[in-house]
Symmetry: C2
Subunit: 152 residues, 2 copies
DNA sequence: TTAAAAGTATACTATACCAATAGACTTTAT
DNA sequence: ATAAAGTCTATTGGTATAGTATACTTTTAA
């Protein structure tokens, strides 16, 4: 049940982009370098990832001097599920329970397949979290912990 | 969030081994061929998988004519989580929230990392299902559906 | 006692995917 | 015009997946 590095870096970057915007409604623009430095991610690799996210409509960008990336929508309207699916594909552990890319799995009878039932539960549990957690929820939670620990 | 073919086949095989034993307390023995035929799994590949499961202590076997594999413990006492971990490793989507094989993930500060918090939730949701579902639970559920649908 | 059934054990292979790197190209502000 | 920034395509090295092949050992029934 693994999150790939692409997924991890992409999620981290999106959270970073959501963070400063926290108290303003104007989208915060950040440069690739800025993010890669702060999150310790290979710049070139991050380039690809942000591009993918942009092509998927989750990010906008501005070219040229003083450019950068910014969220395509407000942090409340972007869920981790959306980001995850763009970078790592379906949430389902097995294709026969996938909503976005169903495929039969070769068991004798899908209707009575116990593995399928359980994996369906797992898929729903994961999707429940990822689809109901927005970037804003994440930054909110981070701040709560920071406050509690008296950090930064 | 993927279950590998090894994991899928292994779980399927274990469920198959749990099934006939349902109403008896004596462990049901099945041969590799029998299982591979019924579940449409490459015999040679399944061989490896069952061997792994055996070395992990979840299966026992009997060699020679009339031999086969059977569950090492009763179906109630084997959970899907145990099987999964043997074949596919940790349940956690990211190492920094893994119980069985923790590793830091390189974010600036683990305590306040939002991604880590959410992935921790995901890990717990998955583990909750997998560790609280036994092979007996699965076969029970299968039978309930069979009955309801009037199948076989 | 020996042949066949069955599991055990290693090694190998082809393919795909992942993570990262490289380099050339395009757009934009100054 | 030039430098800063994103865009695009290709390539690389490594690892994981999903098997296949082959030789070996143990057990049992004829």
């Amino acid at each position: 049940m693994r999150l790939s590095k692409r997924g991890e870096y992409g999620l981290r970057a999106m959270i970073a982009l959501a963070e400063p915007a926290e108290n303003s409604d104007t989208p915060q623009m950040m440069q690739i370098k800025e993010i890669s430095l702060r999150e310790q991610i290979s710049t070139k690799f991050l380039e690809q990832i942000l591009l993918t996210l942009k092509n998927a409509g989750l990010l906008h960008s501005k070219m040229g001097v003083g450019g950068g990336y910014y969220l395509a929508r407000s942090a409340k309207e972007i869920t981790l599920g959306q980001i995850f699916r763009v970078l790592d594909g379906p949430v389902a552990p097995i294709k026969c329970v996938s909503q976005m890319s169903y495929e039969p799995c070769g068991c004798p009878d899908e209707d009575t397949c116990g593995l399928r039932m359980v994996m369906g539960d797992v898929r729903n549990a994961i999707a429940d979290i990822l689809d109901n957690t927005s970037l804003a929820d994440v930054t909110k939670r981070q701040n709560a912990v920071r406050k509690k620990l008296g950090k930064k």
